[in-house]
């Protein structure tokens, strides 16, 4: 025999309880629908700095890390504020990002795509990094950018110069402040014509990987458009150290310009070998033989020593620039570390501030809100003049520097002189340019 204690009050209580119980998952579901990967819940936010701490670009990686530490210091209100004082957007106030103190973790890319992906993944999954940034190689940038897209975090690329990063491999969650091979070519071509004339025969030595290929294609197209002839392009293995057997054929090729599409140790060695073979003192076709290194870096220039003198190339930024942003950054960096920053340090510092600024303007860490805030964003005061983060491919468009190895350096840092500042308009290309074709930006992924 059962006893039924059912009362009106009991039914109401039970109903309320069941109703709340049924609603509860819906509340969580609604919450998770708005959530995203590594949403910061405490009073701190973690950024992931993925730089080469070992391998051939470790010095460049160390400089990137210095810049990131400086950026974090400035975001948290420390130091002299650096470029926060010159940045055209004024929403960053030195109280972290959206009131959360900025913390960071670091990873070692080793300049290897698989290692870079592994360290980025670890920072996202184990350390809760909400944004990944850094790197000194296009292969690494493309690999980590793809990972960040899948994971639902923002990737602010470090030093990557291949057209592919914001071309066929572009991703909605990825952004590049650094310039690219097409821009180098567009900036260099008129200067080369001015210096060496429009009747030249160029011989290219090209590093056999994505960056080398796109740079060679860009430089050859730009120089051929002004009348130069490309007599040959030889792909050299990335692991090559002695380039003598590649340089020797240049001597009787009829070429009067050697274009070295090399970076890092490759560039130092190939340039050194070319100078050893007397190319710089050679006369061909009644003209002085010339060497061009389309992508320069001060750190690499130091490695090349005397050989760099008089060699023309391009760079994203140089510490000797006299705009207020550059001066503020050089002062902050130089005071803290005792030497001027490299272009890699500059782009990494700027990328960190741009991310923090975008979050603050969007009032959200949600990657899709950040993407929306960065797309089409125009800014100034960061060392490159007025700059646009183009929405269609997430590439920054800004002035490009054409530089030359200095003949009479006044210090160990004074290795390059700026020959020309090429205006952004001259290096801007349509988003559907054939050299950048084949990719799809897709849509932003907030993850979770």
């Amino acid at each position: 025999m059962s006893k039924n204690n059912l009362t009106r009050r009991g039914v109401l209580k039970s109903g309320a309880g069941i109703g709340a119980g049924v609603a509860l998952p819906t509340i969580f579901t609604a919450s998770s629908a708005g959530a995203f990967t590594n949403e910061p819940t405490g009073n701190t936010v973690t950024l992931g700095f993925n730089v080469p701490q070992s391998g051939p670009y470790a010095d460049e990686g160390a400089d990137e890390l210095r810049a990131y530490e400086l950026a974090v210091e400035h975001l948290n209100g420390g130091g002299d504020g650096g470029m926060l004082n010159t940045f055209s957007s004024k929403v960053l106030d030195g109280t972290g990002i959206l009131g959360k103190k900025v913390e960071y973790v670091t990873g070692d890319t080793q300049t290897k795509s698989d290692a870079a992906r592994a360290s980025a993944q670890s920072m996202i999954q184990k350390d809760g990094a909400i944004m990944i940034t850094g790197g000194s190689s296009s292969g690494v940038a493309v690999a980590v950018q793809g990972l960040c897209q899948e994971a639902g975090v923002i990737f602010m690329a470090g030093l990557t110069h291949s057209n592919d990063t914001t071309g066929k491999d572009k991703k909605a969650n990825g952004f590049r402040h650094f310039f690219n091979a097409y821009m180098s070519a567009a900036a260099l071509a008129p200067v080369l014509k001015n210096l060496y004339g429009d009747d030249r025969k160029a011989y290219h030595l090209t590093a056999d990987y994505t960056w080398g290929w796109t740079q060679q294609e860009s430089i050859a197209a730009a120089t051929e458009a002004m009348g130069w002839e490309t007599v040959n392009n030889v792909l050299t293995p990335l692991a090559q150290t002695d380039f003598s057997s590649y340089i020797a054929p240049v001597l009787d090729s009829g070429a009067d310009v050697l274009v070295l599409n090399h970076y890092g140790g490759n560039m130092v060695n190939s340039l050194t070998n070319a100078v050893q073979f007397g190319l710089r003192n050679k006369q061909v076709n009644g003209k002085n033989f010339e060497i061009v290194v389309p992508l320069f870096s001060r750190l690499m220039a130091r490695g090349a020593g005397e050989n760099i003198k008089g060699i023309v190339g391009s760079t994203n930024w140089h510490w000797s620039l006299q705009d207020e942003g550059s001066k503020a950054f050089v002062k902050s960096f130089g005071t803290k570390y005792g030497f001027p920053p490299s272009q890699a340090a500059h782009t990494c510092y700027v990328q960190t501030l741009l991310y923090a600024d975008a979050v603050t303007r969007a009032k959200s860490f949600n990657p899709c809100d950040v993407v929306a805030a960065l797309e089409g964003f125009e800014f100034d005061g960061m060392g490159n003049g007025p700059t646009l983060y183009r929405a269609e491919d997430h590439q920054c468009f800004k002035d490009v520097l054409v530089v030359k190895g200095k003949e009479n350096p006044t210090s160990e840092f004074d290795l390059l002189e700026v020959v020309e500042v090429t205006p952004a308009a001259q290096v801007t290309y349509p988003a559907d340019h054939p050299m950048f074709a084949g990719g799809n930006l897709g849509t932003c992924n907030p993850g979770a």
Partner: protein, 335 residues
């Protein structure tokens, strides 16, 4: 024709480095029976001996020049090398200019000491272990050494230029010019190779070592302390690699990874030449250097794309298939 001549010179030049490293490797394998994967690191350390001497010679006295400002707007530091202050500008700058050749004298005792410490401190404990263990421990040592160098000198290449008098090009045949320092390097390597062979061939010490290489036990039974001689041979092999590194600096700027770049190629050279055969190592070094140079020619790459990247390994495969003991290897040794 000039192009072919240049590639032959390039090949001899590359082969010089391969031969010097392979010679040391073979000496160690032939005497101690150890497969030394740290040998590339010894080449790199030799190059950094040159960097170190260059830095010692350019240690400077700093003064502030208020008329010139540095990048932060502070008075610039003017550096005057002590050696210039002590010996005057002409003599001081000449000594600095010749730092690479001087580094030969600097490197020999250092490399002998490193070789001695390496053999007595680590490698002797692995004589009776399998080759796989020897490879693992010496490879680990190579990584430790290169990371140490990177820690102190950084990852970027550091220039150690040739003396001005030897840094240009020289005419080696009518109408054919070639970098002077590369000619010096080739001649230097011939002298070292000749010196090592003469040492082994014409001295009592060398004869004992050769006897030990052929039959260690019998030499030991005769009351000769062959281990001590082999330890010295390890030091000599380390010095040969080190000197190859010192002189290679002006060709390609030293960096912490340069040993690894040469290591694999040098092992291929040793295998092609024949494990334990000194003449084989030298012959294979020059042969593979020349082949590599020709494979990098435009005409060859156009005909067979990518051949420049695999030629050495291709030759090694063919040699090992046709003649497993290598070009001049003894029958039964690593066959």
């Amino acid at each position: 024709m000039d192009a072919i001549l240049l590639q032959i010179f390039n090949g001899l030049d590359k082969g010089s480095a391969y031969a010097l490293i392979a010679l040391g490797l073979t000496l160690i394998f032939g005497t101690l029976g150890v497969v030394n994967f740290a040998h590339g690191a010894l080449f790199m350390i030799g190059a950094f001996c040159s960097v170190t001497l260059q830095r010692l010679l350019t240690l400077s006295h700093e003064t502030l020049d208020p008329t010139k400002l540095d990048f932060l707007g502070n008075p610039s530091k003017i550096k005057t090398p002590y050696i210039v202050e002590w010996f005057g500008a002409d003599a001081g700058n000449t000594i600095i200019d010749w730092s690479v050749p001087l580094a030969i004298l600097f490197a020999i005792p250092i490399m002998l000491a490193i070789g001695y410490v390496m053999e007595r401190g680590l490698i002797k404990h692995f004589y009776k272990r399998p080759h796989a263990d020897q490879i693992l421990v010496t490879f680990g040592l190579a990584i430790v050494l290169q990371e140490l160098v990177k820690h102190y000198y950084g990852a970027n290449p550091i220039q150690t230029p040739a003396p001005d008098a030897l840094s240009g090009v020289m005419q080696i045949l009518p109408g054919v010019v070639y970098p002077a320092w590369r000619v010096v390097y080739f001649c230097f390597s011939l002298a070292i190779i000749g010196g090592v062979f003469a040492f082994l061939q014409f001295t009592t010490f060398g004869m004992v070592v050769r006897a030990g290489m052929a039959d260690r036990e019998t030499v030991g039974l005769l009351g000769i302390d062959i281990d001590r001689r082999f330890t010295l041979m390890f030091g000599i092999a380390a010095s040969v690699a080190g000197l190859a590194g010192v002189m290679y600096g002006p060709i390609n700027a030293p960096n912490y990874h340069m040993g690894m770049d040469f290591l694999v190629l040098s092992f291929v050279v040793v295998v092609v030449g024949g494990m334990g055969s000194l003449p084989g190592a030298v012959l294979a070094g020059f042969l593979l250097g020349i082949l590599e140079s020709f494979a990098s020619m435009r005409e060859i790459i156009t005909l067979i794309p990518g051949i420049n990247q695999i030629i050495i390994y291709l030759v090694a495969i063919v040699i090992l298939l046709v003649r497993p003991r290598g070009l001049m290897g003894r029958k039964g040794v690593m066959e």
